[in-house]
């Protein structure tokens, strides 16, 4: 089920007996920006299309979907990924959420902490010396890292 939050909205509407009028209904999505929403809608449509094309061959569906996902990642700015995760989470769109989480994981894989901080826009809130101690405790996990 894609876009569960939207479906919920429709279900609620029916329960309240609001006449929806024609086929266009305005659904308020205050927490989602238009750009990530557009990407998610395209992703969803593509997913359904690939699934329909390959109804008799699930493996083909998976392969094609992977190819599409690779293409999509080339066009999306890494920094937009956070927005996409937030949007997919709000809309309750599980497949897209999993995909974008994996993409973020891939982006920070093997990168130094400084890089990850800049990537997420995070500020360190550790006191002097605290960070040093932590780095020592987790020294074993710092091997084999890309330096900026």
């Amino acid at each position: 089920m894609k876009f569960c939050a939207v479906k919920q909205y429709f279900d609620d509407e029916n329960n309240n007996n609001i006449t929806s009028g024609a086929s266009t209904t305005m659904i308020p999505l205050p927490n989602v920006e238009s750009h990530p929403l557009a990407i998610l809608i395209t992703y969803c449509k593509k997913h359904l299309k690939i699934k329909a094309n390959n109804a008799d061959n699930k493996k083909e569906t998976e392969k094609e979907m992977e190819q599409y996902e690779q293409e999509l990642l080339k066009k999306v700015m890494p920094q937009e990924l956070t927005e996409l995760i937030l949007a997919a989470n709000y809309l309750n769109f599980k497949e897209a959420l999993d995909f974008f989480c994996r993409a973020v994981a891939s982006a920070i894989q093997n990168k130094s902490i400084e890089f990850v901080r800049k990537f997420f826009g995070l500020e360190s809130d550790f006191e002097l010396g605290e960070e040093e101690k932590l780095r020592e405790e987790f020294a074993w996990s710092f091997e084999g890292v890309d330096e900026d």
Binding site: K58, E69, Q79, S106, N110, F120
Partner: protein
């Protein structure tokens, strides 16, 4: 542990000018942990240095050391690599990682590679390490993929270190040993000294002969003994046992007490019978919710099930049948009908192409109101399985989903690297499945893999 393939990110470029707004902190903890779960544990722990919030996520990350050599083993099988060479690399990798690991406790320790007694000193050290870190789930999978492996050469689980009292073993909840020589006495020792042990799985140990499971406070929930060729007898007194599995030759099976038994797996080898098990389990059949059977039947008579007492609670049934094209699978029907509330039926077919002359069979059709899901693995598109599928489609009037998978069960069942090309074993299987789908014998969703 799942080895999820991460999507490839082209060179990640940072914005050169002003800093980005910190949006990631708006994500709830579960979402951050979800992102981290796709990274190797080593990488995930690194993020604890980012800020206080990330550090607090640390205790929620799974502390597991998983040395999975499955992909390498597959390449060795394909003769792209040499076992000797890769084994040395593997041992080096594990030893180096353990040396630099300074975590104080670990939850899971898993090794999956073909190792034998030649690596004993290394593996003994790993086991000591895991126990000293209070490991909860220990899995050693040394499955031998090279042919003609001499079972007496398998790694011998260290008896000596466990007869003395080791306090940290109190943490063990799950123990899985495959292609490792371990005796019944040692397993019984674990059962008495690990008060939290819930799961025990032993595969291919020729030193396992007898086993006595008993203890009023025994927490054991899962016990599976697979293909231990010298195994002769087992006695079970397990107040919490929920899942019991045995695959092998006929044994003396005494189930004195297993009041919580829900799931049973019984498999034979080389046409050995499995029905003796139903005698031993007769007092528990009525309470089972799931049943898995491995039937090898290369004889003329094909697959036949005797009269069955009613499996009143059975919801899931999985039957793997290895047989030839001449036999009939309609012999499974009494089994299906003995389960009036069956929800899901999975059928795996391992078909050999030997042809015995076919036996005609008439079968009365009873409507089955509860069966919701059917899955067929190893679909060959021959008379033998089409007959069974048609029977199921016509009798299961409330069927919601049928999945037909033309790939052989051994391909589907064994984890393989994603990019391996696999072919369907029987030509025309997928086309036959499509034709069946077109006949529209059912309103259910018809999925062809």
């Amino acid at each position: 542990m799942d080895k999820t393939v991460l999507p490839i990110m082209d060179k990640t470029v940072l914005p050169s000018d002003k800093s980005i707004e910190d949006r990631i902190s708006q994500l709830p903890d579960e979402m951050l942990i979800s992102v981290l779960s796709f990274l190797m544990p080593k990488e995930a722990f690194r993020t604890s240095v980012l800020s206080h919030r990330w550090k607090c996520l640390c205790p929620f990350l799974p502390r597991s050391l998983d040395f999975d050599g499955l992909y390498t083993m597959w390449e060795i099988e394909r003769e792209k690599k040499s076992l000797q060479f890769e084994r040395k690399k593997f041992l080096q990798w594990v030893n180096d990682t353990l040396k630099s690991c300074r975590v104080s406790t670990i939850d899971e320790f898993r090794v999956c590679f073909e190792l034998d007694d030649g690596s004993k000193s290394h593996v003994d050290g790993w086991i000591d390490f895991a126990i000293s870190k209070g490991v909860k789930r220990l899995e050693l999978d040394f499955t031998a993929r090279s042919p003609f492996k001499d079972a007496s050469n398998f790694y011998r689980f260290p008896n000596e270190s466990f007869t003395s009292d080791k306090t940290c073993i109190k943490s063990l909840t799950s123990l899985t040993l495959k292609y490792i020589r371990v005796t019944g006495e040692l397993l019984e020792h674990f059962l008495s000294n690990c008060p939290l042990l819930e799961r025990l799985h032993v595969d291919n140990s020729e030193d396992l002969v007898n086993l006595k499971i008993y203890g009023s406070s025994l927490k054991l929930k899962y016990l599976h003994i697979i293909r231990c060729l010298e195994f002769k007898s087992i006695e079970i007194n397990a107040p919490n046992l929920e899942s019991f599995g045995y695959v092998g030759n006929e044994i003396r099976l005494h189930v004195h007490s297993a009041p919580r038994l829900l799931d049973v797996r019984i498999g034979g080898m080389y046409s050995h019978p499995i029905y003796y098990a139903f005698g031993s389990l007769s007092s528990y059949l009525y309470q089972l919710e799931s049943l898995t059977l491995d039937v090898h039947s290369y004889t003329y008579n094909g697959v036949e099930f005797p009269e069955f007492q009613t499996l009143t609670k059975l919801k899931h049934l999985k039957v793997t049948v290895a047989t030839n094209e001449g036999s009939s699978l309609l012999g499974l029907i009494p089994l299906i009908e003995a389960a009036p509330f069956l929800h899901k039926f999975v059928f795996e077919l391992i078909l050999s192409k030997i042809n015995f002359p076919k036996k005609a069979r008439k079968v009365k059709k009873y409507p089955n109101e509860h069966l919701k899901e059917v899955e067929i693995v190893g679909f060959a598109g021959r008379a033998i399985d089409i007959q069974l599928v048609v029977y199921l489609l016509e009798s299961a009037i409330n069927l919601e989903k049928i999945i037909v998978n033309p790939y052989a069960p051994y391909i589907v069942g064994i984890p393989r690297p994603e990019n391996v090309r696999t072919t369907v074993k029987f030509e025309g299987a997928r086309e036959a499945a499509k034709r069946l789908k077109e006949k529209q014998l059912t309103r259910a969703e018809f999925v062809i893999m």
